[in-house]
Amino acid sequence: MSQSISHKRFIIHPYKFNMWLAIVAMIMMFAAFTSAYVVKKADFRYWVDVPFPQMFTFSTITILLSSVFMHLSLVTFRRNQVSLHRLFMLLTLVAGTSFLAMQIMGWQELYDNGIKLNGNVAGSFLYVISGAHFLHVAGGVIGLLVFSVFAFTRFRNPVDTLVENIHPYKQIGLELMATYWHFVDVLWLYLFFFLQYS
């Protein structure tokens, strides 16, 4: 046949591509926040150094752990290890939720140290940037909740399990979840170091 071009579609699933593009948009949003931070910090007349909350170190460790769990839950899902998948899914959910709790405790710590949202602009930035990240993680936790429920409802019998695992379009959901979750993790790592050492 005259079909000279074998068109390579679906090298990357469209939903995945959508997710990567959404991540680009989120990166731009945080790039705007952090560049505003840099510009303001250069104006040293008003900038005061804000004591960075200890709790943020623990929350960083927690979200890193949650990323590991997320990865394991995806791996076990692909390998059809249902009970392990359930376990890691729950662990991710718990770690994600603890991260949110720890961020709130971190803000409490800031507040106790006299850093107010409406005080010096350095403190305001810390609240707003970590707050924007908090909202992104909160969205992710809702997703984790959904997938945890799926983990317990979808694999009732071996046939179901096989269908769920083998069908590429059923896998995509969890893969998107994992991509997003790793993104908010890396994003926090960036913010964690940026806010302390920039």
Binding site: S2, P14, A25, M28, M29
Partner: protein
């Protein structure tokens, strides 16, 4: 091979139907009114939703401009007759209250820039044309696409509600600069109007981003077999790059807006510093209003290209189809679009020459700004050379496309003046600027949009619009557009955003000119109503489309049935064998993209030996037999 095709088709069907599993495999299913016309995931319906919402907003936004033009043209007249409409915003002397005048111009700018020329233009045509022109059943995610419209709708509702606030809608300009827009005490529109404005814009950004994700993914991933990037029709390239620009710039506006919301409502000082208001010193310290301007214009400048690129793409297609000639310099057109897209991100500070920025930084922005003239000029030359010796059909879409080129040149030339910081110092915030951007991105983008609507109306609704009314609309609009905005160049020392210039002796000489412009503006608005009537009347009562391909165009949307269902092609998606612009080739009027290259034919862009006349003659024989 055929089996492979079937699998691919199946997968494709699966992807596009992922969000509504109930109708697998067959597309002409029965849907309820709600799922077909309201919460539809069909890109064609969503496009029409964007279009109709955009038209409604255009009437509102244009109507506002008529109101404030009346105030400007007749500063001494008694406008008490507007009371039923504007109520307390008419002063006892019968003038539009100055604070409401500001609200009118703010809303006019916001509505037209965001709701009409971004959502209404890009939202309509990206949605409608991308799947049809690249050969896809629908967008990558129909559900996200639907969300995109409904976020726009929500955003529209919030903005519409803000008109009815006791303190009036936002009145600090469409750019919403702090501190004017950050402090409720600064202006009546800043009391609550700006909060509504910001919430509406945040929702709008979500809408643009959700839509943009889909446009980019669809163009990259869902092209039909053979549809290489360099075979795409130019509108698709334009929509694709528009979405990329939007994806990179709108999140920055989101950040800027969030910080402004914090400053307004939670007492932060991101943008506020050392302000006295009503004799009282505010506690805010350490912020910078210039920071907001940087963040805003990092979106704001790309935004003007988000508006004009789709119009450019549509005009390119329409000019080529209706002059029965390939677009001149197809590859140059693509690279110039790319160049404009890249440059759009490094020129934002040319809106800020007056902020006291370092003149050396300013001169860098001047240089980049002026460089944009190069790809813009490439495009203009290519449009003109496409027309050159073409077999021109002066149909309504063609008239508007030619009008677009005319307006783009007229408005673009003054961009060279304004891009120079030294001249901008003089011309900043005068009617010269108003004339410049209205011609180059306001009216020009509208002309691109009209060209698109007239051109694809038969595809959208299976009926034709009335030609006579279309010509009246065209001539009325282009004459009025020039009558409004050409004289404004003479008002190069008249400041913008003044509700009246009556108190200044210097500006007395412009009184009659202002009146003249107002009359032209009112006439222009009346001509748009003709279009609105023609549009809605023709949807239901227009002459029926009998031919599948009324313009004898090469592109894929004309290979679908006259009224395509959800999924666009009833059978397999056609395969593409050539670029989109084989017009008047080898003695044939047009060759559809779906037709394989013949034995002796060389594809556009591939270098072969010059074909000798024998071969061409041979080709002609083949096709005429």
């Amino acid at each position: 091979m055929s089996q492979e095709t079937t699998i691919k088709e199946h997968l494709e069907t699966h992807v596009t139907d992922h969000d509504h599993d109930h109708d697998h495999g067959h597309h002409d299913h029965h849907q309820s009114f709600i799922s077909k016309y309201i919460f539809s995931t069909d890109h064609k319906t969503i496009a029409k939703q964007f279009l109709v919402t955009g038209i409604i907003w255009a009437i509102v936004g244009g109507g506002l401009s008529v109101l404030f033009r009346i105030q400007l043209g007749y500063p001494d007249a008694d406008l008490s007759w507007m009371k039923p409409l504007l109520g307390k915003w008419i002063t006892p002397e019968g003038h539009i209250a100055p604070e409401f005048y500001n609200a009118l111009i703010t809303m006019h700018g916001t509505i037209l820039v965001f709701f009409v020329l971004t959502a209404g233009l890009s939202g309509t045509f990206s949605n409608y044309l991308i799947p049809l022109m690249i050969g896809a059943r629908d967008m990558a995610s129909g559900f996200i696409n639907m969300l995109s419209y409904w976020f726009f709708f929500l955003s529209s509702v919030v903005m519409a509600v803000s008109f009815f606030l006791a303190t009036g809608p936002a009145s600090g300009g469409w750019t919403a600069y702090p501190p004017l827009n950050a402090l409720p005490a600064a202006a009546s529109g800043s009391v609550a109007g700006v909060d509504y404005w910001l919430v509406s814009i945040v929702l709008f950004i979500v809408s643009v981003l959700l839509g943009g994700l889909n446009y980019i993914t669809t163009v990259i991933n869902l092209r039909t077999r053979g549809m290489k990037m360099f075979r795409l029709p130019l509108p698709i390239w334009a929509f694709f790059l528009t979405a990329v620009i939007g994806l990179l710039s709108f999140p920055v506006l989101l950040s800027a807006g969030v910080l402004l919301l914090f400053d307004r409502n939670l007492g932060t000082s991101f943008y506020l510093d050392q302000i006295y208001i009503g004799g009282e010193a505010l506690a805010n310290a350490g912020g910078s209003p210039i920071l907001y301007q940087h963040l805003f214009w990092f979106l704001g400048h790309p935004e003007v290209y988000i508006i004009i690129l789709p119009a450019m793409g549509i005009a390119s297609e329409v000019l080529s189809v209706h002059s029965r000639k390939p677009i001149f310099g197809y590859t140059a057109m693509i690279y110039s679009l790319l160049a404009i897209a890249v440059l759009s991100f490094i020129v934002w500070a040319h809106h800020m020459f007056m902020t006291g920025m370092n003149p050396f930084i300013g001169s860098i922005f001047v240089i980049f700004t002026l460089i944009i003239a190069v790809p813009s000029a490439v495009k203009v030359f290519n449009w003109l050379t496409t027309l050159w010796r073409g077999n021109i059909k002066l149909t309504p879409p063609m008239m508007f496309a030619i009008g677009f080129v005319s307006l783009f040149i007229s408005g673009g030339v003054t961009g060279i003046f304004l891009g120079n910081s030294s001249i901008d110092v003089e011309l900043h915030d005068t009617y010269f600027v108003v004339a410049h951007f209205h011609l180059v991105m306001g009216v020009a983008a509208f002309f691109g949009m009209f060209a698109g609507i007239y051109h694809w109306f038969p595809k959208m609704f299976g009926r034709h619009m009335n030609n006579t009314l279309s010509y009246i609309h065209f001539w009325g609009t282009i004459v009025c557009a020039y009558l409004i905005f050409f004289p404004m160049h003479w008002e190069y020392m008249l400041p913008r955003r003044y509700p009246t210039h009556a108190g200044f002796d210097t500006f007395g000489m412009f009184a009659q000119l202002n009146e003249f412009i107002t009359i032209a503006a009112m006439a222009s608005f009346a001509f748009q109503l003709i279009f609105v009537f023609n549009f809605f009347y023709s949807i239901w009562y227009g002459r029926k489309l009998k031919e599948q391909n009324p313009y004898h165009a090469t592109t894929l949307e004309w290979t679908t049935p006259i009224r395509p269902g959800h999924g666009n092609w009833p059978g397999d998606i056609p395969e593409v064998h050539r670029w989109a612009y084989d017009y008047s080739k080898h003695g044939r009027d047009f060759i559809p993209q779906t037709e394989p290259l013949s034995q002796y034919e060389i594809e556009h862009g591939e270098h072969g030996d010059e074909m000798d006349s024998d071969v061409i003659a041979h080709e002609n024989d083949d096709h005429q037999s």
